[in-house]
C-alpha cells in the first residue's frame, strides 16, 4: 500500500497539475502529436485519492483524460510526455498518443479515446482476479459523460451479479465537452444508478483529497471482498475540453466559482494550517516537481520519431508475419505484366 499521508497526496497532486501544465506547453510549442489533449487540471484528487489506495497487481483503465490517473499510479512522466509527442521513446512508441497510453507493468490496461470504451475490460480483469485468487482489484476511471453509454450499465450489472473485485470511478467534472451534466441527464445523482444495479455506491466531494482517499479505501477494500462499487468524485474541469476549446459555452462567473474548487490548493492550505509543512517546504517541493516535469518536456522533444517501418509492427504478435505494405504488394503485382 502506498503512503496516503497528506504530504504525499499533495505531492502527487502537484505532480499531476504540473505535468498537465507542461502538456499544455508542449502543445503551444507545436510539439505535441495533434491537439486532442485533455488536461485533468481540477481533477487531481480523484486520480490521486483513488490511486493511493491501489496495490501492486491491481489493474485499471482510464478515459481520454487519463494522464493524471496514470501519473498518480506511478507513471514515468518522461515516457508519458514522449508518447504525447508521438515519439518512439513514449510508452507506446508513438502509436498511441495522449489518449492511448498503457503500461502493463503498472497494471494500466489502457487509456481509451472511446467514451466508455475502457469500462468493460475491468469486468474481465475482475474475472481474472477471481480465477487466479490473487486479490487484485480492477478500477475503471471515466468521466460523467460516460454515464450516457449503455456499456457502463452492462458492466456494472455484470460486476454486481458476479461479485467481482471491481470499482467504477466516475470523475464528474460537470461537463462532457460543452454539455453540463444536468443537460445530459434528468438525475445527476449518478451513484443512484449504480446502487440500483446492486453496487456499493457513493459520491464524494473532490475538493478534499483525503475524503476521496478515505472513500476509495472503503470501496476498494469492499470490492476486494466481493462487493463491487461505484464512486463519483465531484470536481470541476478548469479549462476547455481539449487544448483548442475555450469553453465559450460556460460563463465566466461559473468558471470562477468552479476553479475555486481546487484540490491542490486546498491540500496546500491544509498542510500549512495543520503545521505539517511550511510555505517554504511546499515551495521547494513544487519546484522540485516543476524541474521533474520540465525535464519530461526535454525528454519528449529530444526523443526520436518512430521509424516508418515500425508502422507494420504490432498489428499482430511478433511471431506472425507483418501485413504486406500496399507499396510492396503493388510492386509485386505490377512486376508481373
Amino acid at each position: 500500500m502506498k503512503n496516503t499521508s497528506l504530504p504525499q497526496l499533495y505531492e502527487d497532486m502537484r505532480r499531476v497539475r504540473t505535468f498537465e501544465e507542461r502538456v499544455g506547453e508542449l502543445f503551444v510549442r507545436g510539439q505535441s502529436a495533434g491537439s486532442m489533449l485533455h488536461l485533468s487540471i481540477g481533477e487531481e484528487s480523484a486520480a490521486v485519492g483513488v490511486c493511493a489506495q491501489m496495490r501492486d497487481g491491481d489493474t485499471f483503465t482510464t478515459h481520454h483524460r487519463g494522464h493524471g490517473i496514470f501519473l498518480a499510479r506511478g507513471a514515468d512522466p518522461n515516457r508519458m510526455m514522449a508518447e504525447i509527442a508521438g515519439k518512439e521513446t513514449g510508452y507506446c512508441h508513438g502509436k498511441g498518443g495522449s489518449m492511448h497510453i498503457a503500461d502493463m507493468g503498472l497494471g494500466h490496461l489502457g487509456a481509451n479515446a472511446i467514451v466508455g470504451g475502457g469500462i468493460p475490460a475491468v469486468v474481465g480483469a475482475g474475472l481474472s482476479a477471481r480465477h487466479k485468487k490473487n486479490g487484485a482489484v480492477s478500477i475503471a476511471f471515466f468521466g460523467d459523460g460516460a454515464t450516457g453509454q449503455g456499456i457502463l450499465y452492462e458492466s456494472m450489472n455484470m460486476a454486481a451479479l458476479w461479485e467481482l473485485p471491481v470499482v467504477f470511478v466516475c470523475i464528474n467534472n460537470q461537463y462532457g465537452m460543452g454539455t453540463r451534466i444536468d443537460q445530459a441527464t434528468a438525475n445527476p445523482n449518478l451513484h443512484e444508478r449504480a446502487a440500483a444495479f446492486g453496487l456499493a455506491a457513493r459520491t464524494v466531494d473532490g475538493l478534499d483529497v483525503e475524503e476521496v482517499a478515505d472513500a476509495a479505501a472503503d470501496l476498494i477494500e469492499g470490492a476486494r471482498a466481493g462487493k463491487p462499487a461505484f464512486l463519483a468524485v465531484d470536481c470541476y474541469r478548469f479549462f476547455g475540453h481539449a487544448r483548442k476549446d475555450k469553453s465559450p459555452y460556460r460563463d465566466a462567473a461559473e468558471e470562477e466559482v468552479g476553479r475555486k474548487k481546487d484540490p491542490v490548493l486546498q491540500a496546500r492550505d491544509k498542510l500549512i494550517e495543520a503545521g505539517l509543512m511550511s510555505e517554504a517546504d511546499l515551495d521547494a517541493l513544487d519546484q522540485k516537481v516543476a524541474a521533474e516535469m520540465d525535464a519530461s518536456i526535454d525528454f519528449a522533444v529530444a526523443g526520436e520519431e518512430p521509424q516508418l517501418k515500425s508502422m507494420f509492427r504490432d498489428v499482430y504478435d511478433p511471431s506472425q508475419p507483418e501485413p504486406e505494405p500496399v507499396r510492396t504488394r503493388l510492386d509485386r503485382i505490377l512486376a508481373q505484366g
Binding site: A33, G86, G97, Q149, G176, T179, S310, R327, G337
Partner: protein, 326 residues
C-alpha cells in the same frame, strides 16, 4: 442562394440550414450539435436559428441516437443524426444495420426510414487509432443503406440537400481534412444528379476512381502525371450506394487501365469492391489488373509520420500510375 465563395464546412451548414427552413420536419440530433456547434463546427449557430427542439444536444449515447433517429424517421420527422466520428459507428451498427437498413424490407415495404446519419472520418489530425478511420466499407457492405461521401464544396452542399430528400437511410461521411477547403457554390449550376459519379478531369491513359479526400490527392497526382506524359481521368464517385458504374465503365474501356483509390483499409473494403466490379464489367478491355491504392491493413498511429503513411498519398498514386506504364 447567391454565388458564394465558401468552405466545405459552411456549405454543409448552409445545406442543413436551408433544409430546415424549407421543411419543418427536419431535425438535427447528436452530441454537441447545438450549443457547442458541432465538434467540427458544422452545425454552428443552427440552434440559434431553429431552437433546441430542432437542434437537439444529446447525451453521449451513440446507439440510442441512431435508434431514436430511426423512430423519429418512422413517425414523420426527417432526422439528421450526427455521429461525431465515424470511428464510433461500432456502437451504432446494430441500430444502423439491423434496424435502419432492414426495416423497409422486413416489414414488407410498409414504411421506410428516411434519416441521414452525418459523420466524418479519415486521417489528418493525429487523432489516433480510434479517431482517424475510414469505415465506409462497413456501410457499403450493408444492403439498405445509402452512402454519400462528398469531396467538394459543391457536393458538400448538394449531396447533403439530396440526402435529405432520399426515401431511405443515408450515411453521409464527411472528411475531417476537408472542412476548411474553399470553393464556389453557384446556384445557377444545375446540381449533379444523386447517385451519379462525376468525371472531374479527363485523360485517356488511365482512369482513377476515387471519392472523398482522395479525389484531391488523385487530382494533384494527375497534374504530376500529366507533366510526365501520363493523362489520367479522375472519377469522383460521390455516392458509393448507389454506385454509378455507367460513368466508370466506358472510361475504363477506353483506356484499358484503372486505379481505385480509397482511404479505407484495403482488405475487404471499398477498393476491393471497385476493383472486382471494374474487372467483371470491363475484363476484355483491361491491359493491366485494376490496381488498388488503399489504406494499409493496420490501425492508424498518432505519430504524424506514421499516420500520413498509413493512407494513400499523392506520391503513392503517382508512383503506382507510373509503374503501370513501365
Amino acid at each position: 442562394m447567391a454565388v458564394q465563395e465558401t468552405t466545405y464546412r459552411d456549405a454543409l451548414r448552409l445545406a442543413l440550414s436551408e433544409a430546415m427552413s424549407a421543411d419543418n420536419s427536419v431535425i438535427i440530433m447528436g452530441e454537441e450539435v447545438g450549443r457547442y456547434g458541432g465538434a467540427y463546427g458544422v452545425t454552428k449557430d443552427l440552434i440559434k436559428e431553429f431552437g433546441a427542439e430542432r437542434v437537439i444536444d444529446t447525451p453521449i449515447s451513440e446507439a440510442a441516437i441512431v435508434g431514436a433517429a430511426v423512430g423519429a424517421a418512422m413517425t414523420g420527422l426527417r432526422p439528421v443524426a450526427e455521429l461525431m466520428y465515424v470511428d464510433f459507428i461500432g456502437m451504432t451498427m446494430d441500430q444502423l444495420a439491423n434496424q435502419a437498413a432492414k426495416i423497409r424490407y422486413m416489414f414488407g415495404g410498409q414504411i421506410g426510414v428516411p434519416m441521414v446519419l452525418r459523420t466524418q472520418g479519415g486521417t489528418g489530425r493525429s487523432a489516433g487509432a480510434q479517431h482517424s478511420q475510414s469505415l465506409e466499407g462497413y456501410v457499403m457492405h450493408t444492403p439498405g443503406l445509402r452512402l454519400a461521401m462528398p469531396a467538394t464544396v459543391e457536393d458538400a452542399y448538394h449531396l447533403l440537400r439530396q440526402s435529405l430528400q432520399q426515401p431511405d437511410p443515408v450515411v453521409f461521411i464527411e472528411h475531417k481534412g476537408l472542412y476548411t477547403m474553399k470553393g464556389t457554390l453557384d446556384p445557377n449550376n444545375e446540381p449533379a444528379e444523386w447517385g451519379k459519379a462525376k468525371l472531374l478531369r479527363d485523360g485517356g491513359d488511365l482512369v482513377i476512381v476515387t471519392y472523398s479526400r482522395q479525389v484531391h490527392h488523385a487530382l494533384a497526382a494527375a497534374e504530376t502525371l500529366a507533366s510526365q506524359g501520363i493523362e489520367a481521368a479522375i472519377v469522383d464517385l460521390r455516392t458509393l450506394n448507389p454506385l454509378d458504374f455507367d460513368t466508370i465503365g466506358p472510361l475504363v474501356e477506353r483506356s484499358g487501365r484503372a486505379m481505385v483509390v480509397s482511404e479505407g483499409a484495403m482488405t475487404c473494403g471499398v477498393a476491393a469492391e471497385l476493383s472486382a466490379r471494374i474487372t467483371e464489367e470491363c475484363f476484355d478491355y483491361l491491359e493491366d489488373p485494376v490496381v488498388r491504392v488503399a489504406g494499409e491493413d493496420i490501425p492508424i498511429s498518432v505519430s504524424p509520420l506514421l499516420e500520413q503513411n498509413s493512407v494513400p498519398t499523392p506520391e503513392l498514386i503517382v508512383e503506382t500510375a507510373r509503374k503501370l506504364f513501365t
